[in-house]
Each structure stands twice: as structure tokens, then as C-alpha cells.
Symmetry: C2
Subunit: 312 residues, 2 copies
């Protein structure tokens, strides 16, 4: 029995996400053939060396010709450009989707450029690591991770079901959400944590009283967890900030307000207020462990946890 | 050959740190006998059930009688009280140390109470987890972690060497530091990260637009890493905040300034400034990996990393 979901799949962008898709599509036999396109000859060569697809080109339009599914996996700031490039070559009835970390901006960029003869269904797999490029991908990246689809009002239910089934075949659990709501949720669970991590690592490396080598040496005390997030791809995160500005500023504003109040409690030695906050937050952790999103073990579940899953 | 470093060791406080000490002292045979004292009958009973020591009491003064080494492992806000309680019963020439996460305040609390006939040498093992109590401890907690001793100007070099050798026998790497400098370093590598984590988890659980169950469901996107830190013991962290106020406020002030500037870059769409910050922070991560404090692997080194080590 064949597992083929789409006769030909085009992958535009072959970094962490694109190359993980290539690997899982190949492993599960989800496509008759895989066409790979990326911007630079260098990345394309590496994808070819890794044997990620069946055809390779730096011409995005060429890759999408005859494709039944097109997955755009480029930094969100480039999605409008890619849509313009591929628009005229898309096969009628094809599904076009993306994996970008912001949704409203991607829709605003891509939808006007795409022909109405294709099904445009934006998506976002909540799966990633702090690494990038074709070497960083692996077939298990999406296993048990959520993939959020943000269909448009006019989206064809059949095409939507087909795309959802594809992501499930990649190992994902599929959810649907309104694009604006997606952007708010991701602003708090992903974008703000990354920004805060970048910010604290920046602060720590600029101090006069404490040297950078001390920060590095004693990082295991809590700081280290932030450095992993803060080593994520700069282009991706610049684009996320520029393309989910309103939701991020909203969450940043709330965070800063709360921080000012925490600062005040410390300044005035208000132990009860501190104790109250430090107790309240434990419930969230318990919820995450109960929801199976983390393992409760004395080694932080790092040995037992499903490997290779993390930030996005 | 005997490994005995001290004929009798008294452990005051038998939570995560105290019970980990009991376990490693036992495993390595570092003491002739271990006397255990803790505040509550309940915790004492549990310590006895776990067989952590040779004698058990809720009377701190009783435990220290005849002891050659006394290790105080209680929340830093209680160290002054403990010093007062044990002062009159300390054996002349004994070494008294602690494991508190702040040092200047512990010294200010304990030193005036202790007799000059004992060697008071404050210390802080940079090893911990987000769990507490006698069940949470394990003998490997200190393996390859730093233990910072902050000797006073009058500290006897021989006593200092003896204490350092003891911590090394527990698996630690020993460092010396000025207490004030310790407090600044820990404010940035440990205290600020924990506060920021508590704060963001607090912010996330208070939103109207995004439900707590959505935050939990999608936490793997970055947020989850913060919840581990934010589930640490509230009493310990309240005491840390109240006892390292100046250094923490200093670091919080810098963090907030930097965050305001980041916010401004997002508001004005200054992609170059964002890109610059997001690039600069990667060097710190590289430094940590090179220093052997973290493993560089696609699964974040969680499988390969020395297990059970973490925050403090
Ligand atoms: N990383 C995560 O954790 C994560 C998680 C979920 C979603 N996402 C989203 O997934 C997307 C891709 O991220 P990634 O981590 O896979 O990034 P990546 O590893 O840096 O790869 C990006 C890929 O996009 C290509 N590219 C850039 N501009 C292009 C253009 N104009 N035309 C064609 N190809 C172009 C790059 O090509 P060259 O190398 O040839 O320049 C590269 O192949 C982003 O939208 C991101 O928001 C990321
Ligand atoms: N947790 C970490 O990650 C970590 C890392 C490095 C250093 N530290 C420092 O280590 C110290 C202990 O932390 P922990 O994590 O071991 O805490 P813990 O697991 O909560 O245990 C605290 C222990 O102190 C006892 N205690 C409290 N007040 C006391 C008093 N007045 N007299 C006698 N015993 C008293 C408690 O007794 P009862 O249960 O009987 O009330 C309990 O046995 C703190 O100063 C902390 O800053 C912690």
C-alpha cells in the first residue's frame, strides 16, 4: 500500500524546517517526488550532497511547476517575495502552505500574490531547534509536536483535510486557529521567551562588574537555559519581530509592567508578595507536566524526554 | 585507607542540599558519623526513614556538639537564627560553613553570632534542581559543579584547605571569591534568570487574550524552559531576593534598560539593531559549550549531558 499523499511536493527553502520535511517525506514515502529550491547555490549544493530531494534548483518558480503541494520554509520576511516568484507557475488546484512563525503578516504578504486557482493554507509547525541550515534537520523533528493551521474563511475543507493528513503523516498533531489568535498565542509562548532570552544574554555580556568569562563559567546556575534560546537564528528572529510587532509589543508591555511590580517588591522587601508570585507560577509547571509536554524527573527529564524537540 | 575528612559532621537542614551532602558523605565515607538536625519533626522523620545519618534531632545545638564540621543548609533568611542557636555548643576548632545562595548577607547574619574559637568559612555549591526536601537530594548533585568559598580576611588557610578538600571529595570543583563579588556574579547568572522566569510565567498566566491551557499546550515553543526555573522553591527564592537586594536591583535595572531599547527597536522596525543583538548573543553560547558547561548536540545535549545537574 502506498503512503503517497501528493504526487509531487516542492520545498521552497531547505533549512532546518525544509530539510526536516524532506527527510520525513522521504522516510514515510509521502511524495512521488520532491523538488527542492533554495536561494543560494551553496545551500542547494549541500541539499544535493545530503540527497534530500529528487530535483534541485535555485529558481523557485521552476520547482513549483507540476507540484501538488508547495511548502514555503523561508524566514517570514521573505514569504511575499517567494509568493510573487512562484505565482505564475503554480499548478491549478495545488495546495500552497508555509511554516512561518507568524501568520497574519505571512497571509498579508502571500495571499494577494497567489492565484485563486490554488489553495493557500498557512501553517506553523511548533517544532524547531536553535540550529539552522540543511544539516540541522532531522526526520523526527515534528513527532508529537503541534502543527497549527490557520485556514482562511474561503479555504476549501477538502484541501484543508488533505494538508492536515499530510502533517499527521509527518508525525504532528494538527490544530486549527485564527491567524490573529495564533500570533497572540505565539507571542507569549515563543516570541517573548526568545526576546527575553536574547535580552538577558545581551545584558550579561555587557557588564563591567562581572566578566564574560565568569558568566560563561558559572552559567549552569540558571543562565545557561537562556543562552540556548538566544543562540537561535538571527534572521529568523529579526523577521519574527518585524512581522508580529503588535502582539509582541503587547506582551512585552505586560511583562515589563509585571517586572516593575516585582522590582518594587524586592526594593521594599515585600516578602509576602514575592512568595505569592513564586508559588503561583508552580501551577503552570504542573500543568505542563500533566499535559505531557515535559517530564517530571530529578534530572529535569532531559534523559527521558523525547529527544530533539524544543523551541521554535 | 580511610577517606574520613572529619570525625563528625553535623548537617543543619536536610532538604535538597543537606540530603545530597548526607548521601555523598556516606557514599564516599567522608565522615566517622553524620548528625542531622532540621526544624520540623516531619522532615526529620523522613530523613530517618531514608537513613541519611547516624543521629537525628530537631535541636540544632544538640547536633553540633562534638562536630568537627557543621554545614548549615537552610534558606538564607534563617541562617542568623541557626547561628544563634548553635553558637554556644560549637566545639573549639570546628569548621562552620553554609551553602546559601547569597554570601554577604549570610556573613552579616552569622559571623557576629559565632564564637571566634571556630573557623567560619561561608560557601555556596553551584548545584541544585527545582526540587526541595530530603527526597529530592542525590549523591551526584555536586559532581563537576563549582563550589564557591568566600573566606573572610581572618580565615585560617589550613581550615580553608581542609574545607576545600572536603568539597572536592564530594565531587565539586572549588573556587574562591570575595563575598560581594560572589553576590554580583550570582545576581546575573542565577538570581536574575530565576526572577525573569518567575515573571514571564506570571505574566503568561494572567492574560485575558490567551488562556492558561493554551500556554500549557504550546509551551514547548520556548516558554517551557522558563517554567522549570519558575517552579523552584518559593521560600528559598524569597530569601534570595530579600538577601541580595542591591545586586539584584542593579542587574534588574540594567536588564530593564536593555529591554526598553529592544522594545524601541521592535516598535520602530529597526531590523539592523535586532539582527545585531541576536548575533552578538550567540558568542556567549559558544563560550559555554567550549567551556564544557553544555553540550552542543541537535537534541540540545539533553541525552548526552551529565544528568541531574542544573539551576541553583
Ligand atoms: N527554526 C525554528 O525553530 C522554526 C520553528 C518553526 C517555524 N520556523 C519558521 O520556519 C521558517 C524557516 O526557518 P528555518 O529554521 O528552516 O530557517 P533556516 O534553517 O535558516 O533556513 C531558511 C531557508 O530559507 C531559504 N531562503 C531564504 N530566503 C529565501 C528566498 N527568498 N527564496 C528561497 N529560499 C530562501 C534559505 O536559503 P539559503 O540558505 O539558500 O539562503 C534556507 O534554505 C521561518 O519562517 C521560521 O519562522 C522556524
Ligand atoms: N535548591 C538549590 O538549587 C540550591 C542550590 C545551591 C544552594 N542552595 C541554598 O541551599 C540552602 C538550602 O536549600 P535547599 O534547596 O536544600 O532547601 P530545602 O530543600 O527547602 O530544605 C531546607 C531545609 O532547611 C530546613 N530549615 C529551614 N529553616 C530552618 C531552621 N530555622 N533550622 C533548621 N532547619 C531549617 C528545612 O527544615 P524543615 O523541612 O524541617 O522545615 C529543610 O530541611 C538555601 O540557602 C539555598 O539558598 C540551594
Amino acid at each position: 500500500m502506498s503512503n503517497i499523499h501528493f504526487e509531487k511536493i516542492a520545498l521552497i527553502g531547505i533549512g532546518l524546517i525544509g530539510s526536516s520535511l524532506a527527510r520525513v517525506i522521504r522516510r514515510e514515502g509521502l511524495a512521488g517526488s520532491i523538488a527542492i529550491a533554495t536561494r543560494s547555490a551553496e545551500t542547494l549544493k549541500r541539499a544535493e550532497e545530503l540527497g534530500l530531494g529528487d530535483s534541485y534548483t535555485t529558481d523557485n518558480a521552476e520547482a513549483v511547476g507540476d507540484s501538488d503541494l508547495v511548502i514555503v520554509s523561508v524566514p517570514v520576511g521573505s514569504s511575499g517575495l517567494v509568493a510573487l516568484e512562484i505565482a505564475d507557475n503554480l499548478k491549478s488546484g495545488a495546495i500552497v502552505t508555509d511554516v512561518g512563525s507568524t501568520k497574519a503578516s505571512v497571509i498579508a504578504q502571500m495571499q494577494p500574490a497567489l492565484p485563486t486557482s490554488v489553495h493557500f493554507i498557512p501553517g506553523h509547525p511548533l517544532a524547531g531547534t536553535e540550529y539552522s541550515g540543511p544539516d540541522a534537520g532531522f526526520a523526527e523533528l515534528f513527532t508529537n509536536r503541534w502543527c497549527i493551521l490557520t485556514p482562511l474563511p474561503e479555504t476549501d475543507p477538502e484541501a484543508l483535510a488533505k494538508l492536515a493528513a499530510f502533517w499527521e503523516a509527518c508525525g504532528s498533531r494538527v490544530d486549527r486557529m485564527d491567524p490573529q489568535h495564533h500570533d497572540l498565542v505565539l507571542a507569549i509562548v515563543s516570541h517573548l521567551p526568545h526576546l527575553i532570552a536574547y535580552n538577558i544574554v545581551g545584558t550579561a555580556s555587557d557588564l563591567e562588574q562581572v566578566t564574560k568569562s565568569e558568566v560563561i563559567k558559572y552559567s549552569a546556575s540558571g543562565f545557561r537555559d537562556f543562552t540556548r534560546l538566544a543562540s537561535s537564528d538571527p534572521t529568523m528572529w529579526r523577521d519574527v519581530c518585524l512581522n508580529n510587532k503588535d502582539a509582541i509589543l503587547e506582551m512585552l508591555g505586560r511583562f515589563s509592567e509585571d517586572l516593575a511590580s516585582l522590582q518594587r517588591s524586592i526594593r521594599w522587601g515585600d516578602g509576602d508578595a514575592l512568595f505569592e508570585l513564586f508559588t503561583r507560577t508552580r501551577a503552570v509547571r504542573r500543568g505542563i507536566i500533566e499535559a505531557g509536554q515535559e517530564v517530571d524527573a530529578p534530572d529535569f527529564g532531559r534523559q527521558a524526554a523525547v529527544s530533539r524537540t524544543g523551541s521554535n
